[in-house]
């Protein structure tokens, strides 16, 4: 009996050891795995989940299927970064992953979770200048390009024509301020009935990263450390923002914002004619088309501070990214897929038309096949404008932006910061100690 037990225990130990040793193993190389021409199936994880989004992705992939009949593409919807990281860490990742979180590119690239695509790009002589400079920035971290862009989002100013009463959309912050005050309609008790422009970061997309670039801010300094106390752009932005909030009355803004409901509902105050001017993403064009087709509106680039008028035309740019995980079983076929989807004009245009997003290469921007409404033109122009900006990648997932917005929302706007310089210095310290902890 006993020898049998011993054999059983030995077998168990061997099995467990073997399992433990093999878990998490994987390799990466442009030449590894089966050749792209070999018959194979690749699994592609993406985050879209609404039926029209899933259909749009499927339509965009149709051309690849025709071009590479040997590669079967299995699309898996509704995946997020946590699932992606867990799959990579388990040693059994999908072949291609797409993420909405450009903030996490620093983590993806620095940890090696996604493979550096530079060898693939070099091997196939892909010209990365088809991607605007801003996009090139948010798809790499410290020279490691582990992702490529797959459609983009950018931001512009929406103006409600009826509420503007013939006024032209503002181009500078002082014009925006004057118009915001002029177009605001108050109730008898002083509360806001119609807002000209809400400067608070609590208003949907009016967060720091979308508005502060108008003041020419640099989020991090040359050493990759927080720049809030040092860069005068932040002080200018915050002082302008607070002065307009004080004009409205902080409590009035709070009351108005808290009565709005959720951002992606038909009750959106811009769609309902309760806000005359609002900064929003390009997706709002499609929402307006479907939810408020009678609203007459214009889109123009976000106004810039008066001392930066030469930078007018740019805006904040971000987008979806796509890459090949470490340990992917079919890296060569995966690269063919990534290359096709991120550089093929027809695929990008099909996808952009389906989702109402901005196609992420310069050639695709001028494709005659783009069927989006005329107001969409602004977003295409902002996207390729050299003055457009994004936020830099860090190892801790855009924590500096999160902390900045929390500072503005919770401390600055309610008037809890007696000394702005000291407040920003304290914010710098918090951001820097978090960066240091994460090894950034």
């Amino acid at each position: 009996m006993f020898p049998r037990h011993r054999r059983l225990v030995t077998a168990l130990i061997v099995t467990l050891t073997a399992t433990a040793c093999t878990a998490g193993s994987g390799g990466s190389a442009t030449e590894s795995g089966p050749k792209a021409e070999a018959p194979q199936t690749i699994e592609v994880w993406h985050g879209w989940s609404a039926p029209h989004e899933v259909q749009a992705f499927d339509d965009a992939v149709a051309g690849f299927r025709k071009l590479h009949p040997n590669i079967t593409v299995k699309l898996v919807k509704g995946q997020d970064d946590t699932k992606i990281l867990n799959a990579i860490r388990s040693g059994n990742p999908p072949d291609v992953v797409s993420s909405f979180s450009t903030n996490n590119v620093g983590q993806f690239c620095s940890s090696g979770a996604l493979q550096d695509l530079t060898p693939f790009l070099k091997k196939d002589k892909v010209d990365t200048s088809v991607f605007p400079q801003t996009v090139q920035t948010y798809t790499q971290y410290k020279g490691v390009r582990c992702t490529l862009p797959l459609l983009a989002d950018d931001y512009a100013l929406y103006t409600n024509k009826a509420l503007m009463k013939g006024s032209q959309p503002p181009k500078t912050i002082s014009e925006l301020t004057t118009l915001a005050k002029k177009l605001t309609v108050r109730n008898p008790d002083g509360s806001i009935k119609v807002a000209g422009f809400l400067p608070s970061v609590t208003y949907y997309e009016h967060v720091g990263e979308h508005v502060a670039p108008s003041f020419g801010v640099n989020w991090l300094n040359g050493q990759g450390r927080a720049n809030f106390a040092t860069d005068p752009g932040f002080t200018k932005y915050l002082q302008w923002q607070k002065s307009l909030i004080d004009w409205y009355g902080y409590d009035n803004i709070k009351k108005f914002v808290h009565s709005m409901g959720q951002e992606f509902e038909a009750s959106n105050p811009f769609e309902k004619g309760k806000v005359a001017m609002a900064i929003d993403g390009e997706w709002r064009v499609k929402f307006l088309q479907e939810e408020a087709p009678t609203v007459q509106y214009d889109t123009t680039p976000v106004p810039v501070n008066d001392d930066r008028q030469n930078a007018y035309g740019g805006g904040f740019v971000t987008g979806t990214i796509i890459g090949i995980p470490r340990g992917a079983k079919h890296p060569q076929a995966s690269w063919e897929f990534v290359k096709y989807l991120t550089t093929n004009t027809d695929a990008l245009v099909t996808f952009a038309n389906g989702l109402g997003n901005v196609p992420s290469t310069i050639p695709a921007l001028s494709s005659p096949k783009l069927t989006l409404p005329p107001q969409f033109r602004t977003f295409l122009d902002v996207f390729k404008n050299p003055n457009s900006t994004t936020i830099p990648s860090t190892v801790n997932g855009g924590d500096f932006v999160v902390k900045f917005d929390a500072f503005v929302q919770d401390q600055w706007e309610p008037g809890k910061v007696p000394n702005l310089q000291q407040g920003l210095q304290s914010l710098d310290d918090k951001v820097n100690s978090a960066l240091k902890l994460a090894g950034g």
Binding site: N103, Q107, T202, K255, H258, S259, V402, A406, L437
Partner: protein, 316 residues
């Protein structure tokens, strides 16, 4: 004879070994479960707490993660909030649950329906319950504040005002009182009626009966409710996070990250800090330190529970 004598101890030793193996075999499911789901994760948590770990790369950093805990303002805000919830929410839940159970135990007709009505909110999934609750009490989207305002009572902006966020969460917890109510109701119904009858004959009034009979009899269950309540509250995550997101109004778009604890850190609980550090900032090493702190505190309360149970057991 000599062979027989020498065979005796050998046989006994073999029997002992067999017995031990048999015991081990019976215990093996527990041993495997304990090792896989408790011992190994705990050991790994302690190990990783001495490293900078982003799920892929391990860099030894000594006590850096532990030192950071003492200067992390978010962790201390979270600790203060969590302690507030433990000190206020848990006693209120037990008291409210007891009061409700006491009431229901006295009702003769329609008691079953009322029990179901009070228990139902507990069955609603926490996310759905929180979303509904926040919508209903939000002055902009729900009727509650408006109704009270008509009779001259001006309720606060619960989940947008840092002062009222934790009381708002406490109200939400009281709405879902079903779990505490049902075990206390069972305990109350378990108190022998003869004790009350004897006390009534002796002239004890309702308060004296409650003080001298009900409380001592149900005190083990009260203790259980309190300690499990403390442990649950130390792990309070879903409701606080959902309430913050919903009241903030910004859509929870994929790819965007907002600071936890809206407004002004008022709803930031310890597990949220842990989640934020581990899965949003990828400071898995520091998240392990936070997890260990949570483990030690929760263990402390679990030990109290076990000691009290033993004490009650000894009394029996």
């Amino acid at each position: 004879m000599a062979a027989v004598l020498s065979a005796g101890p050998v046989t006994a030793a073999r029997a002992r070994r067999r017995h031990r193996l048999r015991v081990l075999a019976f215990m093996s499911p527990w041993l495997v479960g304990f090792s896989l789901f408790f011992a190994y994760p705990l050991a790994a948590t302690v190990y990783f707490s001495f490293f900078r770990y982003n799920l892929f790369q391990l860099t030894p950093v000594g006590l850096t993660n532990y030192k950071f805990l003492f200067k992390d303002p978010y962790a201390w805000t979270a600790i203060k909030n969590t302690l507030w919830l433990v000190a206020v929410m848990v006693p209120l839940r037990v008291l409210f649950g007891l009061g409700l159970a006491q009431l229901l135990s006295k009702i003769k007709r329609g008691g079953n329906i009322l029990r179901s009505i009070f228990y139902l909110p507990f069955l609603i999934p926490p996310v759905a319950a929180t979303v509904a609750f926040v919508f209903v009490v939000n002055p902009g989207t729900g009727p509650i504040n408006g109704i009270f305002a008509k009779v001259g009572i001006h309720l606060p902006d619960w989940f947008n005002d840092p002062t009222w966020t934790k009381p708002g969460l406490t109200l939400l917890a009281l709405w879902g009182i079903g779990d505490v109510m049902i075990i206390l109701l069972a305990a109350l119904l378990d108190v022998p009626k003869t004790l009350y009858e004897a006390a009534a004959i002796d002239g004890a009034n309702a308060w004296q009966q409650f003080r001298q009979i009900t409380l001592p009899t149900i005190s083990p269950v009260l203790m259980f409710s309190a300690v499990t309540g403390v442990i649950q509250t130390l792990q309070y995550f879903t409701q606080a996070m959902v309430a913050a997101h919903v009241s903030q109004g910004n859509a929870d778009q994929a790819g965007t990250t907002t600071a936890p604890g809206y407004p002004d850190g008022a709803s930031l609980t310890f597990p949220q800090t842990l989640y934020n550090e581990g899965f949003q900032q990828f400071n898995m090493g520091y998240a392990c330190v936070l997890a260990l702190v949570l483990f030690v505190v929760a263990m402390f309360f679990t030990l109290i529970l076990l000691r009290r149970f033993h004490a009650f057991g000894d009394d029996d």
